[in-house]
Amino acid sequence: MRQDILNDDTLTFAEKIISVRADGAEKVHRPGDITVLPVDLAMAQDSTGPLAIKVFSEMGVPRVWDPSKIHLVIDHSFPAPDEKVANLHHLMREFVKKHGVRLVEGSISHQHLLENHVVPGMVLFGADSHTCQAGAVGAFATGIGSSEMAAVWASGKLWAKVPESIKVNLTGQFKKGVFARDIVSHFIGTVGEDGGNYRSIEWKGPAVKDLSIASRACISNNSMECGCKLSIFEVDASTQEYFRSVNRKSMYEIHSGSKASYKDEYDIDIGKIIPEVAEPGNVDKVKEVGEVEGTPVDQAFIGSSTNGRYEDLVVAAKILKGHKVKTGTRCVITPASKSVFEQAIKNGLAEIFLQSGAVFTNATCGACVGTHLGVLGENEVCISSSPRNYIGRMGSITSKIYLASPATAAASAIEGKIADPRRYL
């Protein structure tokens, strides 16, 4: 039965993985069905984990279902910037001691899991919206809240509705100065902030093979900004090569059927995309860089789980090399994981950043969520490679955030105003 489902030509990725994995079922599930999924990996971080711990203790559950599958990640405010945060971190460490679950400190959860634990076909629930990043390697990965995470810790299972799917057909080749982030920004600008709500997005087409795993992770991560449940790149030769290199094995390599039905289909010619910037307030207010060029910025932020990977820092370094960050503008660069941080130091990127006058921080979510290392004051303006530009996201509710690729943020840091990165590449 399981093999029949995997071979079924009429099923989307979401329908297939849920049908194959749903508890005791092994039968075909279609959009709208409610299923119960066994969980392979459960992650909570330092702004959702403490509440999950409180809920778990209030439920009166004596022990967790499987400590080896539970990851607590201290990433959002690491290391603790103040006493209140430190106390919640302490609560997490005590829970780790008591229950023997895994603890990670100082790498952003999504990047840490991709580097160390995610495999194709697994079921991953995370108490963090950007958990959908792991769809980049063909995993079922989605975000939930703290109470449902506590229920997963207790039982190892969670309900899931089978989503409808959207197909995006990527064609063409990147032009200079255009990156994965620009593709996904363009898509969010097209479908709107809730255009993917409750849906599974499948990224397909001939251009997918040209996207690195890191670029796919950026796209799957940032897809959350249109509300999606899953954002999927099916396993291909690059994925297989990646997992060979890290010596991890797939659980299932799932491909949607050629006769699968989609709620919507979109075609994106990458060759027609130019650097994109989202204006403050809503992630779907996406403009071409020329329309906002020249807007003065107080800060440029390069980092976050969306765009703090090594390839992002390489582009930022390429642009910043031999230039200085404009006086009066701060440039904060924050890697997504310890390993990205180490690579950046080992390969000389850190030196370039420091020589340009940028601040190069440890790995953390940091400025993206306005918790430390680059909080915005009243009326300040930031251009940021992070995922959200909502009111007060990075600090004062009167501050303003423009979203862009790391390249656009780096070029803007040099000029002290929003700048087109193509001039520097």
Binding site: A22, D23, A25, K27, V28, H29, R30, G32, D33, I34, T35, V36, D46, S47, T48, P50, L51, V55, E58, M59, G60, V61, H76, K84, V85, L88, L91, A127, D128, S129, T131, G143, I144, G145, S147, E148, A150, A151, A154, S155, K157, L158, W159, E193, D194, N197, Y198, E225, G227, K229, V369, G370, T371, V375, R388, Y390, I391, G392, R393, I397
Partner: protein
Amino acid sequence: MTAPSILKGRAWVWPDDVNTDIIIPFRFKARTNDPVEMAKYAMYGFDPEFYKKVKAGDLFVAGKNFGGGSSREQAPVAIKYSNVAAVVAESFARIFYRNCFAIGLPALEVPGITKQVKQFDEIEVNLQDWSVRTRDGSIHPALKVPGFLRGLMQEGGLVEYYKRHHNFPWETLETKAVAR
């Protein structure tokens, strides 16, 4: 705790796309585990003084995609502990919606509702019929939700449910394939 089936109150009307950063900023929600403290920052992005203005039993009526963005459960918790009795919206973002049921905050999806309600109108949310009665007396049915979720909400959320039943509501679900 079982919620009363009819909730009468004045409506705070919010626009489309009210995200969780507006509902409670990260820097406040990530610095406490106390729901009463979280409520002091409810709707901070729109009005830092909201907590002084909201009254027990008030209701929310919002546009589409209410609660988008972050998975933070502190967002519905801050609303619940502001003593807002229910949230009605044209549509909800996925995680926020799940979180409302998980914490026992009534969340009803009623397309078109913002055109029927003005700021501070007295309205009624009927949890038995799963509908909203607006000031002119008209009844607006909410979109149906699975029975196990309504049951979960009625019982006050996952903590209360688990304490009473020693399992989770979905553990007793029969998973059924839908033919088409």
